[in-house]
Amino acid sequence: MFYKRSLPLIICFVMGVLAFCQEFVAHPSADAFREEMTTWFRIMGGFAVFIGAYSLLHMHVTRIRQRQQGWGYSAFVFLGAAATIAAGVVEEILKGMGTFEEGKSFSSFDWLYDYIQVPCGATIFSILAFFMASAAFRTFRARNTGAFLLLAAAIIVMFGNVPISEEVGRWLFPNSSGWQMIFPRANAVLMEYPNLAAKRGILIGISLGGISQSLRILLGIERSYLGGGE
């Protein structure tokens, strides 16, 4: 129990206090300590990736084993991962043998990245552009004053941000160069005053919440990071 719960909480507290204090210490030993610790965490960061990978693979293994709906698709995850890892390993071996030249030899690893990962990754969130258009027409409504203000601001921003607003400005006010830029300027003013003020308010609120959460973690009041178990 001591080793499983109390000692980790004590270490957390001690580390936290040390980390807090080194911020206020001018002595070079504080810098040295910071460098040492951040080197540690940088190295440990490399291991953390494997946990994420494992839990993802594990999820798909479970899906296949339990024959959950759409379990066949999980095979594609393994296919993609296996192909990429194989390509990467082959490349490392070739590099070790000296037959692979960076930038000259054909890299199947880069090929998989460029022609599978990049197009899929780049496309998946662009689908939302369609959904937004449909939602804009079907459901985004000025239900109350707040939503009205929101939509009005959104329209100003959406219009002011694209070049066509300058064309429209020129068309509406062919003679006054000040008024021609009215839409981009409206956008800038909206962003730099009311938007800034609100974002700053939110930011300060979140920060205070963040500090109190850090404090709870330090003192062992919040301990969900320890994971389950006793």
Partner: protein
């Protein structure tokens, strides 16, 4: 250097008290200025009697360890001269002990007159008015006296057991050691030792003298007919005093939060305002009852370790209880097994509290799908099929928020959302009838659960917010008043200055 002159006079008493404490701690740091003045016979310099150059008051010329730093810099300061103007500049010269005895000085800094004032360095010296009348140069001695690279290399070779005549690159060595590896290792190690050596050199005693020049003639600062030489060595200081405001704020704020958490644990009645979205929950369930259709509760896509999910579960407790009382079916959708288990427990408890444990159906709490778009598609499908009369979206959402809320709105249900994902709030606001924004979600959860941890933190944060709001309003008003009347209130900005 006195460190009190960066602390403004008008200051809130508690802040002053803590700062005083900090100052006292700082005074114990091994940074006593080790400066002394030496006078050596004036060396004949290019002096002419027809000079228009007036030298600054020699009494103001001092060198000392710069406070609040890591021991890399010696501060040199002197008063303004009467002949400051264009083309006139000061030269600070530095010498080690041996060089000083031999009369050899090197140029360490060249400061144009009218520039390089001590008041330009509020980080180390504060905003005292007196600083505007002093010039300042921060001198890093190792720039003038760099470490001896050859010596470092020789020493490194000795440590590795390599004789200086078989250093890497040498034919003899290449025969039995992987030369390239050794070279690389030595490069790295040398760089490391160079830094250490620089640090050591910075902290040796050095001697400084000051000259004023207009490009044609140079006149050294003299005292009693001799060139005035001052000496000092840099020392690492213990505390960064310029961060005192940060320390005070952090400590005071953390203490307040802690005190409130303790108070909440002891059962103090901490008030939380009514939250409009929560009131609407009752209405929405009432409407679902009237229409005889179910209510949907959709969790966000984070596991049980996120604050938003914890808050969502607390709100689910209230929803389930009301639904049980009104005899309306509530279906919970989520994507993590742990969240599902907790949700089942909470719903069951809600039914039990309402006195209808038999009406609880564990199948109403379902794991729908695990990844983002499948989740959105699956939940949307159910919405369309079952046409719920009330929808609750609680937790942390990402891009799926848009899809969920859109489908929900198109079924005509009353929708209530709550999320701390600020990027998704716009979509909820335009598609839902009520939205709990950011911290409101946590507040709603604390309001319902009365959990001391959340309640205390919330109240502590409120105190912080109140303090900052008052500071903003009062500070701005005082500064405006200051501009109108000419009274200097800039200390308000100075105590908040972040470094």
């Amino acid at each position: 250097m006195t460190r009190t002159d960066r602390i403004p006079r008008h200051i809130l008493p508690p802040v002053a008290a803590v700062m005083l404490l900090v100052s006292l701690c700082g005074a114990q740091a091994p940074n006593g200025p080790t400066s002394s003045t030496l006078l050596v016979p004036s060396t004949p310099s290019t002096q002419s009697t027809s000079s228009t150059l007036t030298r600054p008051d020699p009494a103001t010329f001092r060198a000392y360890d710069r406070p609040s730093d890591d021991g890399s810099t010696v501060a040199v300061e002197w008063g303004l001269s009467r002949s400051e103007g264009k083309d006139i500049y000061y030269v600070v010269e530095i010498a080690s002990r041996e060089d000083m005895e031999a009369g050899k000085f090197k140029e360490a800094a060249r400061i144009p007159a009218g520039d390089g004032l001590k008041s330009d360095q509020p980080k180390y010296f504060g905003h005292s008015k007196a600083n505007e009348k002093l010039h300042y140069a921060g001198i890093e001695p190792s720039a003038a006296y760099p470490p001896d690279r050859a010596a470092i290399k020789a020493e490194l070779g000795k440590d590795l057991g390599i004789k200086p005549d078989t250093m890497p690159g040498d034919e003899k060595l290449r025969r039995y050691i992987d030369n390239e590896k050794l070279q690389r290792y030595m490069d790295k190690e040398k760089a490391k030792r160079l830094v250490a050596e620089q640090r050591r050199l910075n902290q040796c005693p050095y001697y400084f003298r000051l000259a004023i020049s207009d490009g044609r003639e140079t006149r050294y600062l003299e005292e009693n007919g001799r060139v005035k030489i001052v000496s000092a060595s840099a020392r690492p200081n213990l505390l960064k005093l310029f961060k005192a405001n940060n320390l005070v704020f952090s400590v005071v704020f953390c203490t307040i939060v802690l005190l409130f958490i303790r108070a909440a644990r002891r059962g103090a009645a901490l008030f939380i305002r009514k939250i409009a979205g929560l009131e609407a929950v009752e209405e929405a369930i009432g409407r679902a009852t009237e229409m005889g259709r179910p209510a949907f509760f959709v969790h966000g896509l984070t596991d049980m370790d996120s604050l938003a999910t914890i808050a969502a579960v607390n709100i689910l407790g209230r929803v389930a209880r009301r639904a049980a009382e009104y005899d309306t079916r509530v279906r919970v959708m989520n994507s993590f097994p742990i969240v599902m288990a907790v949700s089942q427990e909470v719903v069951k408890q809600g039914y039990t509290e309402a006195g209808r444990p038999d009406a609880y159906n564990p199948d109403d709490v379902a794991l729908v799908a695990s990844d983002q778009f499948s989740y959105a598609a699956a939940v949307s499908g159910r919405m369309v099929r079952e046409r719920p009369a009330a929808m609750f979206f609680m937790g942390s959402f990402a891009a799926e928020a848009l899809l969920l809320a859109e489908t929900g709105a198109s079924t005509g249900a009353v929708q209530i959302a709550g999320t701390d994902a600020y990027t998704q709030i716009p979509f909820f606001v335009t598609t839902c009838d009520y939205t709990l924004i950011g911290e409101e979600l946590y507040a709603a959860s604390a309001y319902l659960s009365r959990e001391p941890r959340m309640l205390g933190s919330l109240r502590g944060q409120d105190v912080g917010k109140a303090f900052l709001m008052i500071l903003l309003v009062v500070g701005s008003l005082l500064l405006t008043f200051g501009v109108l009347t000419g009274i200097d209130f800039s200390w308000i900005q100075h105590i908040l200055e972040p470094f």
